[in-house]
């Protein structure tokens, strides 16, 4: 792993008194797909947003493609051009068409000519299977289509890294698959990706590494079959139980007893988890 696309060293982030990231060290190699999982509020989004400086780190250093993002003298707009980001809420520009969503950033930021930008836009819309929606407005598309356009918009800037923050969490279940398919294709093409997700099947299938975060720290990380299949840490197991079988959540009324249950129950669950893995 000589070539790390992303290097994060001692990253801390506080919002006022609230310390959200408590010393994160993480490397992502070129072409690697890292899935970040963890309970809500554990700091996954903040971690991702620190990488392209949508949030300013309180301490620590971050390198992307060898450039220090956290260097105060760095041209942050130039760095961000190399990092594509996909949001939970798509964030397409609603006032312009699908094609213009792809051409506007190319023309304004990369200064590409009209024809060049249009052909890159067409290419990337084809990649995500939406060439026929080129003239539509975002509001006319389904959530899954909007998210695929958002991915195409990021790709049109030729990024070296793609960050995904729960890209399928705002989608109706039947639309999740089409977005994951596009991400799978990107991974297969060798894109470096950091993906915050609750889609464990995607993590198992696509991720080179899964990172489990809780309370602003990395609790454990490793190959998907290990972290998702047979997690070492109690907190990881509890989290996975909740994700994989939401209906089995413990009774909120009996916390003390519930904890006992959870630990004995989680043994069973991880057993069934590995069963699922072989199946």
């Amino acid at each position: 792993m000589a070539e790390n696309e992303i290097e994060i060293r001692g990253l801390r982030k506080s919002f006022g008194e609230n310390e959200v990231l408590r010393g994160i060290d993480l490397d992502v190699a070129r072409g690697e797909v890292v899935c970040v999982i963890g309970p809500s509020g554990s700091g996954k989004s903040t971690l991702l947003r620190c990488v392209n400086l949508l949030e300013e780190p309180s301490a620590g250093r971050i390198f992307v493609g060898g450039t220090e993002v956290t260097d105060l003298d760095v041209d942050i707009d130039a760095v961000r051009r190399r990092i594509g980001m996909v949001f939970q809420q798509f964030n397409l520009f609603p006032h312009v068409t699908v094609t213009e969503n792809l051409t506007l950033p190319q023309r304004r930021v990369l200064k590409r000519g009209r024809a060049g930008a249009a052909s890159v836009a067409r290419e990337n819309l084809e990649r995500v299977g939406l060439a026929d929606k080129a003239g539509a407005y975002p509001a006319q598309l389904s959530g899954g289509q909007q998210q695929r356009v958002a991915i195409a918009r990021a790709l049109a800037m030729n990024p070296e890294v793609m960050l995904f923050d729960e890209p399928t969490s705002a989608l109706d279940p039947e639309l999740v698959g089409e977005v994951l398919a596009v991400m799978r294709m990107l991974a297969a093409e060798g894109m470096t990706m950091m993906v915050v997700t609750h889609e464990m099947s995607f993590a198992r299938e696509v991720a080179d590494r899964v990172v489990f975060m809780d309370e602003g720290a990395i609790v454990e990380q490793g190959p998907a079959e290990q972290v998702v299949g047979s997690p070492r840490h109690e907190r990881t197991r509890n989290f996975l139980n909740r994700i994989l079988d939401p209906a089995a959540a413990e009774d909120p009324g009996s916390t003390a007893a519930g904890n006992g249950h959870a630990s004995s129950g989680s043994g069973k669950e991880s057993g069934s988890g590995s069963g699922r893995e072989t199946g």
Partner: protein, 266 residues
Amino acid sequence: MTSRLTRRQRRRVSQGIQYAVFVAAVVLIAALADWDRLQNQFAQKDLASELFPDIITIALRNTVVYTLSGFAFGLVLGMVVALMRLSSVAPYRWVASVYIELFRGLPALLIFIFVGVAVPLAFPGTEIPGGVYGKVALGLGLVAAAYMAETIRAGIQAVPKGQMEAARSLGFSHARAMVSVIIPQAFRIVIPPLTNELVLLFKDSSLVLFLGVTLSERELTKFGRDLASQTANSTPILVAGLCYLLVTIPLSLVVRRLEARTEKAR
């Protein structure tokens, strides 16, 4: 013992009373007003026809020109003030706030007098370009900008935060994201209130009266007043009023439709 009435009965009684009051008021006004004198004073057909075409080709045209130039200047200035109000540089925010409070708090008439008197005094030798047209654009624009700045600021803040984040993550600078992404969306939101402002300006353009205008620079109110005193009859005032309504009522209807549309789009 009125509480014995059912709800339906009570509603009928209440509506009956309201209609009765309305009819009584209309009848009273109709009976008391001296219609012959009113008609004599306000609705002389031959006098009214003499007003044409000047009332349209000069007066209404000038009203429109004054309004549009004031609106254009106000829009540009209002945009600047709105951006200052949202600036991360504190002195800009202070200046913008002071400007907004000042010009919203003063009567437009006072500002017109100020523009007519104080500006030539403060900058001797300099003429406001465009003569009266320039002064009107300045006077109306200064007032309009204060209101429009607040409207535009609200519009900008109504654009979801994710839009700026998406633009920044694509490599847009803050300024470029504002121009290409945020402001175009904000303008959609503020078109109805800005059109409303246009209606207000259309009426406020009558304050040109206080700047001293030549015959060819008269707008509707001044024109109507002048001719009323020349003819010792108020018919020109009535016709001038109708000319205002000719523009303001359709504009108000447009605003209502735009508002209904944005309401639906939410």
